[in-house]
Structures are given as structure tokens and as C-alpha cells.
Amino acid sequence: MFNARDVGPADNDEQQLDRNFRQMEEHLAFMLECNENEDPTQATWDIEESEEDGASCSSNVLSEMQENFGRLRLCAITPPRLEFHGLACMQQLQKRSRQFGLGGAPAKKSRAGAAPAFVVVPGPKQEQLQKENVWNQSCQDGASAVQPLTMEKLRLIGLRGDCVEHNAVLRLMNLFRSLHDHLTADLGFSRQNSMPSDYLFDMPVKSLMPKSLNVRYQLQVLCTKVERFLVQQRRILETNRHFDFEKYDECDKLLKGSASYLHTFKQFLNIEMRHRNGNFVSSSVKFNAQRLESLLIGLREWLKAAHLSVHVFNWEMDLEHRYSAAMTESHKSLTERAILLAGAEQRAAKPRGISLEELFIAKRYNLDGAVCCALEQDEFLTALLASPETYFPPSVVAICGPHKFGAVNMQEQSESEEEIEEFEEAPSSPPRYIGRVPRFRS
């Protein structure tokens, strides 16, 4: 019942039947034939013996049957019928079927038909084949000998060998995507810092670019998004206006510059930008696309500059003006700790070499491998030796009686964790835009 094979679709038996029929028929015919057409010596033996032997064999079977009859009975309430046809009977049947032209006949024909196929290929044809073979071989040798693929060859298969996108539409799409990425980029990464995550499990980045190949539509979406982005940046900027006008001015220019692109884009929303399968429909469209591309690249640079400047300006003002004394203090201690850690990091950059003692052990006892291995696990082994208690459950630790070495270590660890928690709530500037960016829908 659980056997999966029970239900495999292979059981569309009715349809497979036909094939099976043929196969079985041929098989049986073949068997019968083999039986008859064995090499003469054996055949004569067969004929001589067949009468007796067949009978004796089947009587053998019969006696077995009778012997086991009682047991057979036991198995089923109404035992199925059983017929037995001995060898002799089969031979008779075979002959008869031959007369009727059933069974054996087709198989024989096919065998006869197959025979000429084995005749050697006629002379001239063979020569030609040989020539072809030689040529093929030389081709292959030659090809493998030619090492570098030339650019011309690559061109033949439609590649340029410069790893640059040549399709204008796709180039545009890549640009759009890149811009979306830039718009959603989060420059306040302190939150991420506190997470022990890995690349695999980074927080998902929301850069939902609409799924469409329509350039005008993409552009429209982008414009709206950029507009909104700039408004947001503007708001941040304005809250810092009174702190430092010079910097404000610089940022202001950048924002205005970015915004100016939006006006240029308006014209693209009304002109033809159609393409078919990635090929723009006319040369004017192609030209427009080129223009759009350079504009988008320009916009990207402006946006980068504006975003970064506004953010850093805000960040600096946060630090200088908005932080309370406690916040500044915690920030300072954090920085100090980071500098300490950086020291450790720098030390780690120089790999721990093999110590003299280890070298001695390796040489003296011929333990290079083991010492090297131990070095690979240096950190763990050091920690294990220093405070074994932390690595075993309390029930195991208890077996050696009271002892307190590891306690100090643990305290230290918990302390450092606390600090990280603190850090997680690093002060953030008041006007930070916290609400969700509404998902764009068409």
C-alpha cells in the first residue's frame, strides 16, 4: 500500500499493452524457435528424447503438484484453476502455429531481413568514409591546438568579448534598477551593525522596480519616486538649515540640481520610446534612448551626491547640536571601545605564527600535522584550556567538585553584550523619516 511504485503513471497499461504484445509475441516465437532450431546434434538428441523426457518431466511436475496439493488447498478457499502443458504439447502447438503463420513467422522474416545489413560497406563508399574520418580528425586536432579564441570568432556567435551590455533597452533597464537601488539605499547602517547577520540572511532590501519593459512607464515611476525622495531629503535638510548655512547651501544646490533632471524627463514621457524585443523601432527612438541614458547617468551622480551630503550634514549636526550629554558620552565610549577593538583587529591581521614551543614539539616529536591542526583550532583550544567550565553542562562540571575559574570570564562576556545592546539604541536624529515608503503601485 505504501509502495510508491504501486501507483506510478507507468500503469497506463492499456496504452502500453500494444508494445508489450509485440514484444511478448516475438519473445515467445523466438524461444520456441530456438528450442526447435538448435544445432543439429542437440536437435537429434532432443527429438529422440523429447517424447520420454517431456513426459517424465511433466510427470515430475505432476508428482510435485500432488505432493503439495494439500498445501495449495490451504491458501485459498477456491483454488484457482491450473493447467499444465508439457514440452511435447508445446512443440505440437508450435508446429501448428507455424502452419497458421502465426507467432513465429514475423520474427523469422525480420531476422532474414536483418542479415544483409551486416554485409560490409561497399568499396567506394568505404573509401569516402575513411576520407571523411581523417578529415574530421584533423579538424578536431586543429581546433584543439588553436588556443585563444579570437574576437572575430566570438563575433561569429554574437558575442563581443567586452562584457558590456549592448542592448540599449536592457542598458536602460539596468540604469532604472540601479536608480531604484540608490533611492532605497539606507545610509544609516548603525541598526544593521548590531545584528550578527551574514550575507545570506541580510535584511531584505526593498527596491521594487515595476516589472515592465516599457521605458516610458519605467521612467514615469522613477520620476515619481525621485520626486518623493527629493522631498524627503529636502525636509531633512531644512531642519538643519539654521546650524550651518554654508553646508546648507551646498546641499541645497545638489538637491536643486537633481530636481532639474525631473523637468527634462517630462518631455520623454510624451515621445515615442517603443521597442520590439529589445530593438528600438526607429532611429529617432534610438537617439532619444541614448539621450535618456546619459541623462539617467547624470541624475544618478547628482542623486548620490545629494543623498550623501544631506545625510552627512544631518549626521554631523546630530552629533554637534542635538545629542544630549548622555548620548554624547555613550557615543564617545563607543568610539573608544571601537578603537580598542580596532587594535585587536590589527593584531589579528598579523596571523599568529607558530610559537617556539610548538615548533619544538613539532620537530622533536615529529608532530607537524597535529601541531598545525591544533593551530587551526587555536581559539577554541585556548578557550577550552582557560575555562573548561563554560563548555560543559553543569551536571558534568559538578563531578569534579566546586571550582570557580570560569565565572570571571562569563561576567566579562555579559558586560560586553550589554554594551552592544546599548549601542543598538544609538541616538538618532529627530527628523529622520521613519514611516514606510509606500509601495509603488501602478
Binding site: 570568432k153 562584457c163 542592448n167 537601488d181 551593525n193
Partner: protein, 1210 residues
């Protein structure tokens, strides 16, 4: 502004990064080139490393801490072999191939996501519900109903059910709730003539099958009439069906299309166990109750307080039928057991192997190394000197009690001699035994005392007070020897009256192992005969049937897993041996992988197990292999598995159930919400392997993987196997990864008492066997394929033999039986998902065209295992991988040898890329793959070249940097990059087409355009990978032929146990002699017979009748109740004993029932005789037969039974 950014902002950000927890960070693309330099400079000054990477066409800067393993010191080069280049060139040159421009390849720009309606609906809609028109209960049925313990409460139950939509019914297992409740509901509805359709949800398919079959028997019908069943590969339902059994997982699957339509009652069994899918089902039910006002829900549980379910639903009532039994069984804990056994004085027969000299250890490099480690420590005694030894124990599986070859000292000896109390303590924690004596008859204690090392004496004193057995205090240590001892206690001591024995073990692996041990003890006659039955989670129903239909007059020994807690058997048990341990697959967020963890079960589980014992008899007894103290500390209930498990499949299921809900939100509303971090990891992982897309919607891949009963990663591997048309080996690998590994290298703890001292030897032998099977292919996955193939060949296409060889052989057969059943289950699920067709390009045959081609299998592995890919960084001699933190190679993998550092192993590696499976931070199975495979198949299916490569480099530069994903970084020539990328597109277009269109059978049947191109593509890929393999320097793999239809024996264990079960003996010994309980009174006679060739030959040459006549010369009658006759076959040159069989008369016919078959050299027997002071027998080849001394006979029997494959293998 700019200088503030560069001088102030950037350094400050880096400081934040340093203070944070991450190992590396990618900064947003907003930074410009000039700032990248600033990043690089200040990173360098802080000791960080930095790199500019290309992601989505944006260049970003990334900084790494020193410990981060994502940083490849330098890019791995990809150079194609000339053969591969040529083939790829020819492939790409084909004009007809994928003729259309590549715009459509950028499928991510066009929406094409599948919806629920694209999913195959597995269920037919249920017919409309109707009132039942049943006959009235017959007398027998009424009697059957009345036999339920809950029968008198019928009224109360029904009332409660009418009063509330949700009812929690709480009663012990023996109430048989999931059969009883549907029946009374049906009965009630018949009386009231109300509409009824009851769905019964069981936890496991086998439970659904078993219970539905019992209920069908109650009606005297076939399944599919009144009682139906719906399971993945078996369903029988008709319009007259009123009760349908199913499993939670499968029922949830049907909800996608059916939404609780046409259901009147839903009975969910075993809710207290918190099966993950049951928990999700509860959430679904809670939602459905809003729209289906009249649906009644009955939750069946066996727990102390089911209130939390009522709270969860916010409505409903509970009926609690659990009362404390007046007389509980006697319970003994580990503490008492040891003394109890010691007192009982168990006679287990001569332990011939106990005194076998450790002659194996000499010329073995690993022993030499270990000796030197000890020697170094003994002479220096410093921390540094202990390190190599600690490494060997912690990372190299060396036993902590390793004894020096010359002086027999262990590390503990040295520590106490040198007065290193902290070392001593550490070693004791690690399980070292201070009572071992060395060659001079000193143990650690006496050594410490001799040298006056007081600190050590203190430690050892407290050890002797508390720590008698540290080993058995761990849940992951399975004390088989103790279980055997208890078996002896129960079966040979008169104070324990005979009764059925239930042994609860954590996994199938343990069951098989214990099965052999018990069997071998029974067959040698030291343990009384009994019938052994097995129950485990995904067993076939024959196993339960065998137990249920087993004869009552035998003692049944049932080896079972946790499933016994939900399987209502009508078999009374008197004794229970509970290992108190279960295995739990726990997702570990620090190593990003699931890990099988052994843990103690919770207290409530003990209680449920206790109640399985026959309740009426007072003398039932429980043996719990856990310390009393440890038991006291256990929690009341165990953690719901949803909270610990790997969530990939669950997330997928949820996404299909409610596509518009965020997965974490949904899971947060379940009854046992998992930790957010687990959900987050699972979702991100699924996105990584393209099961979910960026917006968390299910992709086509997700749709197809839904019904495949393996986790998503392995499912994806199967898809790659199909795409590259090497399904068979991939199937073997996938199913091997889902079962226990017969060739895993054992810990000391895994090796039983008898062979404890041979740990190193056994480990070495297995390692050697692995190396042999891997045949220099640098692949552990290849071992799976070879092992499976070899095992199949050994079967010679016959059913497996029913005699025993040795434990390993038995285990292998048992595990392979399991593997084969998983395999066939996967195949039928692939068929059901339309990924395998019966004809055409997706037929089994065509999917196996490349199966003999190991290059292709490796390629498929690479694609399927992504992102589990590591790179060797030779310069730093470290492994780099997506999973940061330290990753090491476990000694299990063939990529490294024992005590071999990575830089040595890496010298042999042909490529830096390793595809791997890991447990925690250890790579357990690994395969080296060519760089091209990584470049072609890893990363997101839809990446394009231009966004990932560093194209801004000067145009004249021939090479280009390619970032396949966040850390895989390669450098290759531009031409190669373009060709590789184009090939990649073609491949992934095939991938999408397959996943999207695989259910259109017609498409794959004809030799249509795209389909024939795919054939061409895979053919070319196989050539490409072959030449790449040669180019890189892999040796030619041995042929791995694939058998078109592997017909594997199923039910091997069932057959073996039936063959040797006592029930059969009784049956055969007509007339049945009532109970001769103590088999020690049985006289045994042993004959040796000379066999010219091997056993096969002997048995084919000599008829039983002839043998009977030979034996009859010595004894007559041959069979008497208290005389057993054994026949030992032997041969000359070399002198070996071949087999031992019992002569029996079955139904008046003489037969030889073969017990064991193996090759035992005669000299071993002679040695054993000498060591046991038995008269040495003479085996003379000229004699056809001879009667031998009984003691020698028993000894030979023991030699057969307790032979160890790895020790005695020549």
C-alpha cells in the same frame, strides 16, 4: 562637504562597524569612487580589509573584519580547457539554438509568477455532505463500541460537542480516541439524520493507514467505502465515505484548493505533540471557523492541561479524562540499574572477545601520532603540549581514554603525575576514566598519591564521589550494552515473570543496531528466544500488521521510536526499557544549518510512555536509562518542534496557503510561534535558492518542490539532477542524505563495550573503506553512489539472504531498506509533480542518460547544493564560505586524513571549490567541483553578466572580475565570461521552462524545437564538464552504471526477524511443547561438515535428505524438544568455518536453518580455545562430518555471532 564625508563620516562608520557584531558589511552604492578610496584607506588603518564589489551593476565598497570568512584573499581564476571552450563555442554558434534575441532571457522584468491555481490539485473535491444511511450496528459492532473505555461517556461527549464548535478531548492512548470519536459522531449523526463528513487528521501516514484500516474492519468493508483515506500515494474515497483519514501535511495541501468545503467535523489527533503541520492546521482552522460556522472541531490530546488550545481558539470546551492511575508501574532509573545488574550476576556466556589482544595497533601512523602526542604531553606537561592531544579528541574523534602503545598510559595518567589539576579536570569533563590502569598497574589516583599531588587528589576524590558514569549521563550516548543486560535480567532471572518488552529508542538507526544485538544473543542461545518486532515513523504497514497479528503465546520484544506514543496497539506490555532520548532536528542560527540533536524527552512524555504498559497488572516495570537527578530537572513539556526546526518547507506551505500574508506574520499567529530569527533565516534562504522571489512570492520552483518529501535544498538538487539528466545518482545521494550513513566514522561512544578498545582501529578501517569507495574522486557523495551500487550488486538481484553475517552487514541491509523506500517515495512524488513522465524527454530512461557520467553528477550537485559552497584559501589555509565563522572539515570526509591540517590536504585538491553538507561548523560530506560548475550553476538563476562584472576596468584588459553572488568572486578572460554567461542563460532558460511547463506532457513527448535543444545543451554540457575534469586533473572515475529499474528487497528486517522468531519455532515444532522456558537446559550438539567450496555450492550439491542421513548416523531422532543440533560447515585451504545452521524438522521435512554465515579462520578458533582453556579440537579435511565438543561448538557460534566487520575483515 566632501572632506567631512571622507575624514569624519567614513572613519566613524567603520568604527561603528567594528563595535558591532557583524563580520563584514557592504556599504550602500551611494558612495562614489573617491569615497571608496577613503574607505579603503581608513579600513586599512583600522586593521580591516576592504574590497569593491559589483552588485546589480552598482559598485559598492565592502569591509571585512579579520575573522570574516567571506573575504576571498584573491579572486579564484576560471580558465576553460580547450575542449570545453571548443564545445561551448560550437554550442553557442548554433544559429537555431534559442534563436530569439536574449531580451526574453531577462525574465525578471516581466511578471510571470505562478498562482495557487497553477498548482496541481492533488485532491478531487469532496462530494457534498449527506446524512449517513447506514445499517444499524450489528451485535459485534456494538460490542466493539462498548469495549472502548470512553463508551459510558458517549452522551457527555456529544453534548459537549453540540454546545461548542471546538472541543478538546483529553484522554490517554488506550482510549483509542481517533477511532472511537469518529464512530460515535457518525452514530449520532445517523440517529439525528444530520449531514456528516468527518476528517480525521493523524500525525503520520502510517497512523492514518493503521487506524483507517481498523475502522474499515469495524464496518466489515474495504477502505474507500464508509471509511476513506487520503494520503499522498494512496487514496480511496467514494461518495458514500463519511470518515476520511489523512495527515496534517497532506490535508493542508488540499486546503489550497478546497478551503474546508464539505466538511462537518474535523478530528485532529495528538495535538499535544505539536507536530509543525498540526500547529499550522490549527491556525487554518481558527481562520476557517469564521467562514464555516457549522464546522465542529475535535482536538484529541494526551496532556496534563489542554487549556492552551481553548485559549488559542478563544472558544470551546474541554473534556479531561486523564486521571492518575492508582497503581503505576515500578520505575527504576539509571542509578539503580547498574547496581541491580551487578547484583543479579548475569551469565552472558563466554566472552571470547574480551581478551583479544590489541594486536591491531602496531604499524599504524595514527597510533604513532597519538602516542607522540601523549609522549609530548608527558614530557613537557604544558598547555601547548596538551593542545595536539585535545585537538585529536575534539576534532579528530580520537578517544579521550587513548592508551599509549608502550606503557598503556592515558592522558589522565600524565596529568595527575605532573600535577596538572586544570588539565585533569578538563580531561575528566571530556569523559576520561581515571580508573584505567597502565602497564605498571597504576591508575591516575595512585599516581597522584605517589607523587603527592594534592590538587589532583582533591579533584579525583570529588570525581569518585559524584561522577561514576559521565558517559551515560549524556542523552546522545546510547548504552546498548545496558539494554542487553536488562534483557538478560528480564529473560533469564526467575523473579521477572515473562511478559512483552517494549524498548523505546530515538531513531531507526538505533533500532536496527539493537535488533542485531538482541538477535545475535538469542541465536547463540544465551538469551531466551523471543520475537522481535520493529515500529518506526515511516515504516510500511506490514511491520505493524506483523506485530498486531503476532501470536499471543510468545514473548514479544518491540523496538520502537517515539511513534509508540500515538499508536494504539492491543498488545499488552509488561516491561518497558526507555532510553528517554529523542532526536530533534534543531536549526542553529549561528551555524545556519539544521542539526540532529539528541536530547532527553520531557516529563509528560515519560508519563505517556508509562501508561502504555498494561494498566491492569501491578507488576509492570519501567527501566529508564536516565539518572534520577537528570529526570527531576527535565521540563514538563518539550518545546514544540515549530520553534526549533528548520522552517523551509513550512514557510513554503504557508505561502501557498495564504499567499497574501507575510510568512513571519503568519507564523507569529500560530499556537507555537517560532523565533523570528529562524523565520527570517528560512525566508532568506528560500529566496537565495529561488524558491521564493524578492517579494516573497512562490516561484515555479517552489510550486514543484511543494510535494516532494525532502527539504527545499535537496529538492532543488533533484531538479538539477533532472535538468542535467543524471537523476539516478542524485536520487541516491539525496536519499542517503536523508538517512543514517552506514559508513559514518563512529565516536568511541558509538562502539559497544566489546570493541571499545579498538576505536582507533575501527575508525581507520572505515576511513580506509571510504577512501577506497571514493576512488580518488575527492567526493563523499560519490561514496553514497558507490556504496548503493555495490550493495545492489552484492544482492545479485536476489532477495537478501536471511542468515546473518555480522553487525555491519545487517545494519547495511537495514539502512538500505530504509534508503530504498525513501528513494521510491521521492520518485513517486516526482512523478506526481509531473517532473518524471512515463514517456518522452522526461521519462526515467531519458532522465538517466547521463547517470553514468560522474562529471555531470558533480555539476548537478553544485547547482543543487548552492549556497553550501566553500572555497579553499590556500594562503590563509582556511575555508571560506557563505556561512561566516569557522568551518572545518570533519574527519569523516575523504578530503582530509586524520590529523592532517588543511594546508596539507589542500595540496592535493584539484580545485579550490568544495560543495558540502555540514553539521554545525563541520563539513561532513564534501565534493570538489570544477570552477566552471560554480560559475554556471551557483548564484541567482537570473543574473546577467553586465551587472555582476567589473566592466569599468580598462577596455584593453583581457580579464574581468565577476561577482556571482555576494562572496563568490572569480576572475576570467572577457571572452570566457561572455561565453560562460551565455551558456548559463541557456541553461537557466531550460530550468525555467522545465519548472513552468513540466505538466504539459505533450510538449515533452514530441521531439519539438526547444526540447530537442535541451538535449543538445545537456549533451554539450557533459562534454564540457568531462574535459574540464580532465583539464583540472581529476582522475577518471570508475564507471557508475545505473540499473534501469532497481528492484530492491523491501521488508528485510521484517523477514529476518520472522525467520528467527520464536513464534515460528513453536509452530514448526508440532506438537507444540508448552513453554520450555529456560533454554539452558537444552542440550546442544555441534557437527562439523566438510564443504568443498562455499556454502552456496554445498547447499546446491547436497540435498537436505542426504544431510539428514549423514546426521542420522550420529543422532536419532534428529529433533527433540531439549536437544538442538547445529551444523557447522568448514573447508580447507584456507581453513575456515563457513556457516552455522540449525538442523530442524519442519512439517516432517528435514531442513537446515542457516543462522550465521561468514568466514572464520580456524586459527582464530584455536586461539580462542587456548585462551579459554578448552581442549583444542582437530578439524580434519578427510572427514565428511564429525561431532565436536559442545564448548568448542558454543565458542564457534559466539565467534560467528559477535564478529566485527571492521576488525575481522581481511
Amino acid at each position: 562637504m566632501n572632506h567631512i564625508i571622507q575624514d569624519k563620516y567614513i572613519p566613524q562608520q567603520l568604527l561603528y562597524f567594528i563595535a558591532g557584531r557583524r563580520c563584514c558589511q557592504q556599504f550602500p552604492c551611494t558612495f562614489r569612487t573617491s569615497e571608496h578610496e577613503a574607505f579603503a584607506n581608513s579600513a586599512r588603518s583600522l586593521g580591516l580589509r576592504s574590497q569593491v564589489v559589483h552588485v546589480n551593476g552598482n559598485s559598492c565598497v565592502k569591509v571585512y573584519k579579520q575573522a570574516c570568512r567571506h573575504y576571498l584573499e584573491d579572486p579564484k581564476t576560471l580558465v576553460l580547457s580547450s575542449g570545453a571552450t571548443l564545445n561551448m563555442f560550437t554550442l553557442l554558434g548554433r544559429k537555431s539554438l534559442m534563436g530569439k534575441e536574449d531580451l526574453e532571457l531577462s525574465a525578471d522584468l516581466v511578471s510571470h509568477k505562478p498562482s495557487a491555481s497553477d498548482l496541481p490539485s492533488l485532491h478531487l473535491p469532496l462530494p457534498a455532505i449527506r446524512p449517513p444511511c447506514l445499517r444499524f450496528w450489528t451485535e459485534a459492532q456494538l460490542k466493539f463500541l462498548a469495549a472502548f473505555p470512553g463508551h459510558p461517556l458517549n452522551e457527555e461527549i456529544m453534548q459537549s460537542l453540540y454546545a461548542n464548535r471546538v472541543m478538546v478531548f483529553n484522554a490517554v492512548l488506550s482510549w483509542d480516541k481517533s477511532v472511537f470519536l469518529p464512530l460515535i459522531i457518525l452514530d449520532d449523526c445517523r440517529n439525528k439524520k444530520s449531514n456528516v463528513k468527518i476528517i480525521c487528521i493523524e500525525r503520520q501516514a502510517i497512523l492514518a493507514t493503521y487506524n483507517s484500516q481498523r475502522m474499515a474492519n469495524f464496518f466489515g468493508e474495504q477502505l474507500g467505502e464508509t471509511v476513506g483515506i487520503q494520503l499522498p500515494y494512496f487514496s480511496a474515497v467514494s461518495s458514500s465515505t463519511f470518515i476520511i483519514f489523512s495527515t496534517a501535511q497532506y490535508f493542508l495541501r488540499s486546503l489550497v484548493n478546497q478551503h474546508f468545503r464539505n466538511i462537518s467535523h474535523l478530528v485532529v489527533n495528538d495535538v499535544h505533540l505539536h507536530d509543525p503541520y498540526t500547529d499550522i492546521l490549527l491556525s487554518e482552522i481558527r481562520m476557517a471557523l469564521n467562514s464555516h460556522q457549522n464546522m465542529r472541531v475535535v482536538l484529541l490530546s494526551q496532556m496534563e492541561d489542554p487549556k492552551k488550545f481553548i485559549d488559542f481558539f478563544g472558544e470551546g470546551s474541554q473534556l479531561n479524562m486523564i486521571t492518575q492511575p492508582e497503581v503505576g508501574p515500578r520505575v527504576s532509573y539509571l542509578n539503580d540499574l547498574h547496581s541491580c545488574i551487578a547484583l543479579a550476576g548475569i551469565h552472558k556466556g563466554p566472552d571470547i572477545y574480551k581478551e583479544v589482544p590489541e594486536a591491531f595497533r602496531s604499524n599504524n601512523p595514527r597510533n604513532e601520532q597519538m602516542d607522540k602526542c601523549l609522549q609530548a604531553y608527558g614530557e613537557l606537561g604544558t598547555d601547548a603540549a596538551l593542545r595536539p592531544f585535545l585537538y585529536a579528541v575534539n576534532y579528530d574523534l580520537a578517544p579521550v581514554n587513548y592508551r599509549h602503545s608502550q606503557n598503556g598510559k592515558t592522558a589522565v595518567h600524565f596529568a595527575s603525575e605532573l600535577n596538572k589539576a586544570n588539565h585533569l579536570r578538563l580531561l575528566l569533563f571530556m569523559g576520561a576514566d581515571p580508573y584505567i590502569v597502565d602497564l605498571y598497574q597504576q591508575n591516575a589516583i595512585s599516581l597522584a598519591a605517589m607523587n603527592g599531588n594534592h590538587e589532583c587528589i582533591d579533584v579525583l576524590n570529588s570525581y569518585s564521589l559524584h561522577g561514576y558514569v559521565v558517559k551515560s549521563a549524556k542523552p546522545d550516548f546510547m548504552d546498548y550494552d545496558l539494554i542487553i543486560d536488562i534483557m538478560y535480567l528480564l529473560r533469564t532471572k526467575p523473579e521477572y515473570s515473562p511478559g512483552n518488552i517494549l524498548i523505546i529508542l530515538p531513531t531507526y538507526y538505533h533500532i536496527v543496531k539493537l535488533n542485531y544485538m538482541i538477535l545475535s544473543h538469542c541465536l547463540t542461545g544465551s538469551l531466551q528466544e523471543c520475537s522481535i518486532y520493529l515500529l518506526y515513523d515511516n515504516m510500511r504497514k506490514e511491520y505493524v500488521e506483523a506485530l498486531v497479528n503476532g501470536r499471543d503465546d510468545t514473548v514479544k520484544v518491540v523496538l520502537t521510536t517515539e511513534i509508540i506514543e500515538s499508536l494504539c496497539l492491543k498488545v499488552p506490555f509488561k516491561y518497558q526499557i526507555d532510553t528517554a532520548c529523542r532526536v530533534n532536528n534543531v536549526y542553529d542560527t549561528t551555524s545556519y544549518s539544521g542539526e540532529d540533536r539528541f536530547e532527553w524527552v520531557a516529563k509528560d512524555s515519560f508519563l505517556r510512555r508509562e501508561l502504555i504498559l498494561h494498566p491492569n497488572k501491578g507488576d509492570a516495570q519501567c527501566f529508564r536509562l536516565i539518572n534520577k537527578e537528570a529526570y527531576e530537572e527535565l521540563g514538563e513539556t518539550s518545546q514544540p518542534s515549530l520553534q526549533t526546526m528548520q522552517l523551509d518547507k513550512v514557510c513554503l506551505a504557508i505561502k501557498l496557503l495564504s499567499p497574501n500574508m507575510i510568512i513571519s506574520e503568519y507564523l507569529g499567529l500560530t499556537i507555537s510561534p517560532p523565533p523570528l530569527i529562524n523565520v527570517h533565516h528560512a525566508v532568506q534562504f528560500l529566496k537565495k535558492i529561488d524558491v521564493l522571489d524578492d517579494a516573497e512570492d512562490v516561484t515555479w520552483l517552489g510550486c514543484r518542490l511543494m510535494d516532494i518529501p525532502v527539504n527545499c535544498q535537496l529538492g532543488r538538487m533533484l531538479i538539477f539532477g533532472i535538468l542535467l539528466r543524471c537523476l539516478d545518482p542524485i536520487l541516491t545521494i539525496v536519499s542517503s542524505l536523508s538517512t543514517a550513513d552506514p559508513l559514518g566514522i563512529p565516536f568511541t561512544e558509538d562502539i559497544d563495550h566489546l570493541w571499545d578498545r579498538f576505536t582507533i582501529y575501527i575508525q581507520n578501517s572505515i576511513k580506509k573503506e571510504r577512501a577506497f569507495l571514493s576512488d580518488n574522486q575527492f567526493s563523499d557523495h560519490f561514496i553514497f553512489v558507490r556504496l548503493y551500487k555495490e550493495w545492489q550488486n552484492r544482492m545479485h538481484n536476489r532477495t537478501p539472504p536471511l542468515y546473518l553475517k555480522d553487525e555491519y552487514d545487517f545494519m547495511l541491509n537495514g539502512l538500505m531498506e530504509h534508503l530504498a523506500s525513501i528513494r521510491s517515495e521521492i520518485v513517486s512524488s516526482l512523478r506526481a509533480a509531473n517532473l518524471i513522465h512515463s514517456r518522452g524527454k522526461l521519462s526515467m530512461n531519458s532522465l538517466n542518460q547521463m547517470s553514468g557520467n560522474w562529471h555531470m553528477v558533480k555539476a548537478a550537485l553544485t547547482g543543487g547544493m548552492y549556497p553550501n559552497i566553500c572555497a579553499v584559501d590556500a594562503r590563509k589555509s582556511a575555508l571560506k564560505s557563505a556561512f561566516s565563522g569557522n568551518i572545518y572539515m570533519h574527519p569523516n570526509t575523504v578530503l582530509r586524513d586524520f590529523l592532517e591540517p588543511l594546508n596539507i590536504s589542500a595540496q592535493n585538491f584539484r580545485t579550490p571549490w568544495i560543495v558540502c553538507n555540514k553539521q554545525k561548523n563541520h563539513i561532513v560530506y564534501a565534493t570538489l567541483v570544477v570552477p566552471l560548475a560554480v560559475a554556471l550553476f551557483s548564484g541567482h538563476p537570473r543574473i546577467r553578466l553586465s551587472p555582476i562584472c567589473d566592466s569599468e576596468m580598462s577596455l584593453t584588459d583581457r580579464n574581468v572580475n565577476v561577482f556571482i553572488d555576494e562572496w563568490i568572486w572569480m576572475v576570467m578572460s572577457k571572452a570566457t565570461a561572455e561565453m560562460m554567461m551565455r551558456t548559463r542563460h541557456y541553461f537557466f532558460r531550460m530550468y525555467h521552462d522545465l519548472l513552468k511547463h513540466c505538466s504539459e506532457l505533450e510538449l515533452w513527448r514530441r521531439d519539438s524545437e526547444p526540447v530537442s535543444h535541451y538535449t543538445l545543451l545537456t549533451d554539450t554540457l557533459s562534454k564540457i564538464f568531462e574535459s574540464e575534469d580532465v583539464f583540472v586533473g581529476f582522475s577518471k572515475p570508475p564507471p557508475i552504471t545505473f540499473l534501469p529499474t532497481p528492484q530492491l528487497p523491501s521488508l528485510y528486517l521484517l523477514a529476518v526477524n520472522a525467520q528467527f522468531s520464536w513464534a515460528r519455532e513453536v509452530e514448526e515444532n508440532m506438537p507444540p511443547k508448552p513453554q520450555h522456558f529456560n533454554s539452558h537446559f537444552i542440550e546442544r550438539q555441534f557437527f562439523v561438515l566438510y564443504a568443498g567450496g562455499d556454502c552456496e555450492e554445498f547447499h546446491s550439491k547436497n540435498t537436505p535428505a542426504f544431510l539428514e542421513s549423514v546426521l542420522a548416523k550420529f543422532v536419532r531422532p534428529i529433533e527433540t524438544p531439549n536437544r538442538h543440533i547445529f551444523v557447522i560447515l568448514y573447508r580447507k585451504d584456507p581453513d575456515v568455518m563457513l556457516s552455522i545452521s540449525r538442523a530442524k524438522t519442519v512439517n516432517g521435512v528435514f531442513v537446515l536453518k542457516e543462522y550465521f554465515r561468514n568466514n572464520i579462520p580456524v586459527f582464530e578458533i584455536l586461539d580462542a580455545c587456548v585462551s579459554l582453556n578448552v581442549k583444542i579440537p582437530v578439524f580434519d579435511g578427510r572427514l565428511m562430518s564429525a561431532l565436536i565438543d559442545k564448548r568448542v561448538g558454543n565458542l564457534i557460534m559466539d565467534l560467528f555471532a559477535f564478529r566485527h566487520h571492521w576488525i575481522h575483515k581481511r
